[in-house]
Each structure stands twice: as C-alpha cells, then as structure tokens.
Amino acid sequence: MSRPGHARFYGPAARRANTLRARREGACYPAAPSLRNAGGLDSLEVRLDSTRTAETTANPQAPAPAPASGPAQAALAAEFVTLLRGRHTRALFAAHFASTAGDWLAFMALFSLSAFEWRSDVHEVSLLGIAYMLPIALLSPVAGVWVDRWNLRRVLVASDLLRAGITLGMAYCSHFWTMCVLLLVHQTVSTFFNPAQQSAISRLVPPGHLLTANALNSQAGHLTKILGPCIAGILVSALGPRGCFYFDAATFALSGLLLATLPPLPSLRGTTTPARSFRREFGDGVQFVIRAPRLNAALLLLTLCLAALGALIALLPVFARDQLGAGPRTMGLLLSGLGAGAAAGAFFVAHSGRLWDKMWSIGGGTCVAGAASLLLSRMTHASLAVLSTTLLGVGVAIFLVPA
C-alpha cells in the first residue's frame, strides 16, 4: 500500500530503490519514501511523485481511468458468482443486508410510531434520531478493536439475536423514554455487528478473492443505504409501524440462524495492529486531509449537508402530520420517494458521474437538495410533497455517492 502523494516510482532503478527502502524502514509502509533520509533516487522519486500529484490536481477535468473492458467485467461478475456460491460468504452477505436494511426499517417505523401514534413534537422525534445515531458516532471508530478480541461467530450470532429481542420489545413498547433506551441499546449492538461482519469476511474468504468480497460487501452496504428508506417506506405503509417491528425481528432472527452455520472464528488477541501504528496512520490521515484545501471544503460541505439531512429527517414526520394532515401511509410514501430518488440519483452518478469532476457533483447535489427542501416547505399536497422528497433523494445521492 502506498500513501497518497507518495506513489511508487516504476522502473528497474526504482524497483531497486523500493527494495532498499523497504529493507531500511521495514515497517507498515514498506514502499513509502522516507523524507528524512531522502537522497539520490528517493528524492528524485519524491519530486516525481509531487509532480505527478500536482499534475493530477492541476487538471481536475483530466479524463478518468477507462472503465473495465468487457472480458474484465465478465471475470469480475464470474468472481461475484463464485463468492456467492460459497455457503459461508452467502450467509455473511445475507446477514449484512438484513442487518442494514433492518436498521432502516426500525428507524422509520419508530418515526411513524412517535409522530402518528404518540403525536410527538419535533424535539421528541429528534431525541429518537439522536438515540439512533449517537452509538454509531461514539463507538464505531473503536468497536472494531474490541470485536477482534472476541469470538466473531459468537459476536455475530449474539448481536443478531439480541437485536431480534430488542426489536420485539419495541413492538410492545408504549412509552417514549423506554423506546429511546431500547433504540440506544439496539444501535449499540449494531455498532459491534458491522465490524465483526467485515472481519469475518477477511477470515472466511480466500486471500485471492478478498478484494472482490470487500467490494461486494461495500456495494451491498451502499445498496441498502439507497434502497433502505424505499423498502422501509413501503413496509411502513403496508404493515404499519408495529408490523414492521415484527418483520424486522424475524429478519434478525433469520440472519442469526444463518450466521450460526459459520465455522468458529476465534479471537485475534495479540495479533492485532499495535497502537503506535494506529496512531501514526491516523495522524498521517489527518495531516493529509488538512493539507488538501479542496478536500477540506468538501468535507465541510458534507458535514453541513448531513447535519441538514439529520434535521430534515427529524422534521419530516411532524411536517407530514401537521402540514399535510397525513398518516403513516403518506409518511411511508414520502420515505419511499426519498429512497427512489436516491436510487435514481445513484444510477445517474454511476453512469454520468465520470464526465465531470466529483466536486461539481458534490456542490450540484447539495444545491438540488437545498432546492428540494425549499419546494417541500411550500407544499400543501401529499403527492407534490412526495415529488419534493424524490428530488431531495436525487440531490442527496448526487452529493453522497461521489463523496
């Protein structure tokens, strides 16, 4: 692995230099140039690398790398099929899909329940949203370190069965604060499930297929983020909030049963990356972000957009109830519109996003999302509001997918 801006220099002399440097440094980055000892080929390489980086940033409109050719795509598809034929990998991917889709379903069902059955205000709905997001924000960066110290199969099965139980509890819950606590616990358990599932992939899939497996897993995750609100919206409108909790609990139980068929995956205690390496990598990452002004601006905009999206999610159920005079079904349709728009936006970016710089997509998508919010605030009819949320979904996907 090479660091951005320090890409390897290819050629016979550089290969010799890379080998020498790898011997000299012998740490996490065997091919990274040492700036402190830079001299001779190293300094030439650093200069050429910086030129190459400058060239890349100098021409943001430079043509993107050509997409994979037909035979390469066919080989990739064949590898996907091979992976999905494996019993263990199939169970892992199915569990991942059920878990992430289930998170969405529980979240949307809760919002419908609080807004329409309990007639909650915006601040109560936003408290539910905070209970949903807070464990992810606080625990996700460190959950992976703990998960590697435990038996992965036990973590996976236990977290699925726990979530099935918690979701069933939600179906019978009739107090707002109890629901907040249940949601907090549900999300805390989810925070441990995701890194355990990713770690299990790296231990169950043969090294040659690992890249494809990770890509497949990541695509499944993105697909759920896009389709999750759509599926959740349809189910909320069809089954009602409490029916969704039963459905969700059943998918978690099924996922737990699938994961119980995995072989034992004992802990990796003592074989994990040392803390010093983690700190160095983290510091390098932060330095890299600080040195790139365009990346800084994009991250700032993305943070603002997601804060705005969080606020909109908290406002939407109350808006639907008070402004549109709607019930859970219309709320479901609004969410389906959001999901369908996101799917359409992602499709659009995937097919046309290569034609222009990603930064234009991020800025343009935010503008579309802003315009959709302005339109939504003027809507008094449910069908027009659904169109606005669809446009909002398109905007969100256009800025979120390239980011």
Binding site: R3, P4, T57, A58, N59, P60, D121, V122, H123, S126, L127, G129, I130, M133, A137, L138, S140, P141, E281, D284, G285, F288, V289, R294, A297, A298, L299, L301, L302, T303, L304, C305, L306, A307, A308, G310, A311, L312, I313, A314, L315, V318, F319, Q323, D357, M359, W360, I362, G363, G364, T366, C367, A369, G370, A372, S373, L374, L375, L376, S377
Partner: protein, 68 residues
Amino acid sequence: MLGRVTSLALAVLSVAQVIGMGIAGAAALQLEPLTLILVIGCVLCASSAVFLVFHAQVRRAHLRRARR
C-alpha cells in the same frame, strides 16, 4: 491510512447528523417545522453556491499554474 481517514470521516458525519437532529429539536421549540425546512433549504443552497465558487477559483488557479 485511507481506512482510518474513512473511519474518522464517518464518525464526524454521524456526529454531524446527531448535531443536526439536536439543532432541529431545539429550534422547533421556537420555530414552526415549515419555517425550519425553509431555513434548511436556504442554508443548503447558499453553502453549495459558496462551495461551487470556491471550487471554480481553485480549479482556475490550478489551470493557470499548469499553463505557466
């Protein structure tokens, strides 16, 4: 390193969503949901305009430097 940056970015973005929900909850005590959605729309449009202008300037500067 990319993994660490991604983890950091995801955590920051999740915190941003929590803050956004918190702000919406607090602001809803003073403002109507409709007004809040309108304000959010204005903020998003204004910030995207600022970002696009900034990006265009940076890009123009890069192109000028590359031409020299």
